[in-house]
Amino acid sequence: MLPFSIGLKLGLPVTEQIVFAVKKAVVGGQLQTGDKFPSVRVLSQELRISPNTAHKAIAALVDEGVLVATPAIGTVVAPHEAGDRKDCAHLLGAEVERLVVEAKNLGIEQEDVQAAVAAHWEKLETPDRRYSHK
């Protein structure tokens, strides 16, 4: 089993979908600093994708500093630094949009949505996942 959640959708480049899923898993704490990341082979077999695509996704994640390639160990999750909050917000764009659309469809007020978001935020706020603001 892969250490992060992903459901590949048709119609979007696979590399992009993997990069997004991994970043989300890091932001959400599903992947922690130092966690071992699956190899090209494992990623390709688990997702039934071309090894080239798996390789590209891992390379992109290393390039963006989400993963680090360490000799002998393989690829691991890089320390999650503060300062990439903008990045995180961008990542969540689609999710936020979906939330807003659903809320409007259901006729929920903006304040109620914000309150619900705050409540969930509170629930997930554990010390090792909190951003350090400097």
Partner: protein, 295 residues
Amino acid sequence: MNAIEINNLTRRYGRTDALVDLSLTVHTGSIFALLGPNGAGKTTTIKILMNLIPPTSGRATVLGVESTRIGPKERAQIGYVSENQTLPLWMSVRQLLDYCRPFYPSWDRNLETTLLKQFNLPRGMLMKVALMSALSYRPKLLVLDEPFSGLDPLVRDDFVQGILEASDLGNWTVFISSHDIDEIERLADHVGVIDGGRTKLNESSESLLMRFRRIEVNLQGQTPLLEEMPTNWLAVDRASERVIFIDSRYSEYTADSPYQRYFPDAVVTSHPMTLREIFLTLFRSDRKTSVGIRL
């Protein structure tokens, strides 16, 4: 060196042109999908590549060797599985593998064992055994002609997993013709589409998925300039309040999209398309308006 190079290949059967001036390049290390409707020339292409039939004109090279010169030595590096393959049905799976093994110096018994375990015979047995005997000698090039046809989703999944099990990054090329576009969309790095024996598309799956978008325009009461719409807008469909079309150049717009110009105050949304939808668009819009389409 490219794994496969096809240059201006033509093949006639009597008066029928099966292939007309077909050119395609398959990079070493890629998974290349050859797509096209029935009768597009997929099997003819593969038969020429495997030197089962000669071309009428043009040429193709496979692993650097002219297709017409492919013999036992080259075949030991090529794994070929076709839906029409005949297997000696009187043999058991073990007997067949015992029979095949000595022909290939590169036969990998560990891989054979892994595949045997993974393949969960006898479900979808014939195709799996054919694939197993083609994978176990770790060919540099795997050629699959309609490998998924008639297989249930479970077997298809086993099949894909088996292919990937034998993968060897960078040094291993797969050429696969299939109708199973959904399966292919994830698997293939590169897509070649042929129609009537001619090349229609030849590009990476990623760029293809980025390039095509279904565009929905909510007119908000405006009248658009529909007469002079770009020719790369396909399958334009218009209702009173909405215009829907397929834009085949979506990824090329850098700053300003041309939608602003055509529909100044309308609400425009773009939706990604699956490979299947792109494929259908290509063939449907082509049949309606046979000229002037720029892909």
